[in-house]
Symmetry: C2
Subunit: 248 residues, 2 copies
């Protein structure tokens, strides 16, 4: 009988301010985006199984663009559910849209590219405390952008990955990596087919060492080649990081 039940899959496009969440993924005794969203959705839709996110953002990391899929046994009115969710969810989660998708769509595995942004403010800014890392030290952006060029392409990024994660290899393809300056605010954009845990924050931290001329381009190249997390710079705070785009 179960096999004949029709199934409908929907994709949710959303954003969240990660400040007060312990990341995307449900975990005991901590508030997560997945838990908030699941609880709201369960009140208005009979879900078949768990909702699946595009990836696991860490505690405090934001998402300006995030995707989720869920299944249910009947068709839903996507606009009505969108409106209801926005009224039910706290102010730090917003639903942009819900779209019907094919059953082979997968929020995580169908993603082709992901883009992150890391934001730094060089002056203390009381309006950016949640979304930028305050880093007042002088930075040489030209040199940082030179180092970025070494990231482009397919490499083993073990040097920038948290150890003991559940992935089988640390090879990623970086499509673009660049710093932009808008007054006192610096933004680092990086796009890849996949990212390892903590990778953007470790890369950004190491690029800040380059920008302060603590290490030079040659050393940055050696760090990538070393495939050793001990070699790279510090992972920097979550508040500056946001997942800004996912391409399917």
């Amino acid at each position: 009988m179960q096999n004949n039940t029709p199934l409908f899959r929907y994709r949710i496009h959303l954003a969240y301010n990660g400040t007060r969440f312990f990341g995307w993924q449900i975990q005991p005794h901590q508030i997560s985006v997945q838990e908030c969203l699941t609880q709201a959705l369960e009140k208005i839709v009979k879900l078949s199984g768990a909702i699946v996110g595009a990836g696991r953002t860490d505690t405090g990391v934001h998402a300006h663009s995030f995707y989720v899929h869920f299944d249910c046994e009947y068709e839903i009115d996507t606009q009505t559910i969108t409106n209801k969710l926005n009224r039910m969810l706290p102010a730090d989660i917003v639903i942009f849209s819900i779209t019907a998708v094919a059953l082979d769509f997968h929020a995580r595995f169908s993603a082709k590219k992901r883009k992150y942004r890391y934001t730094i403010t060089q002056t203390k800014n009381p309006f950016l405390q949640e979304t930028a890392y305050f880093f007042p030290f002088p930075l040489n952006i030209e040199v940082m952008n030179e180092a970025c060029k070494l990231l482009i392409g397919t490499h083993d990024f073990t040097s920038f990955s948290k150890l003991h994660t559940d992935v089988t290899n640390n090879i990623c393809t970086i499509y673009s990596a660049q710093w932009q300056k808008n007054g006192d605010v610096l933004e680092f954009y990086i796009e890849a087919n996949r990212f390892l845990r903590n990778m953007v924050r470790a890369i950004t931290g190491t690029l800040l060492d380059v920008g302060q001329e603590k290490i030079d381009i040659q050393e940055f190249q050696e760090i990538i080649a070393a495939k050793n997390r001990q070699r790279a710079g510090q992972s920097i705070p979550a508040c500056g990081l946001s997942l800004i785009d996912i391409e399917y």
Copy 2:
């Protein structure tokens, strides 16, 4: 003896995110910007008297530009004190600069013009929860800007003032008042020689009634003329309001 003591006056230029403060002014049992700043300053400078702010912002109201003056009996190194204060103060208060000023300078009474901004977001935005008011209803900006023209000039603004305040009259001169649209974000800028308590939030709330065409331009004109707080629209939330400029 006391009369011969030299006195030096300094002006602090600062900004604060008002979200967690119960306004500028010190009050019992509540955290205020004045208290935070006084406590930090007292640890590094021997103050002669209380620090004086440019005005009293209400609970939750922000200041992108605020001025304070204080006196002490000796000359201070303004850059050193600025740096120390920024390290001591919480992330939601930032000191831009400290400048030596004449003894007749007064942070409140020397101010010639003040400019406020009220920010509205028409779509739910998890990154603007602290600094904009979420107002999803359609608004006719052209009509709102027509109504704004009626505010310009010298008028009795009793209709937009909180009752029982300590001012002797409710006459203010408005130099400019205008709405600007940037995508889903609407900003209302208003500049005057002085503002009454709650005035910007009451004016903005009434202009939202105009924008929704609940009241027309003629009625807006009548509300101003009525000098009666009962006639105007609701005061809207503090989060969208920021003091953005003071001219001396």
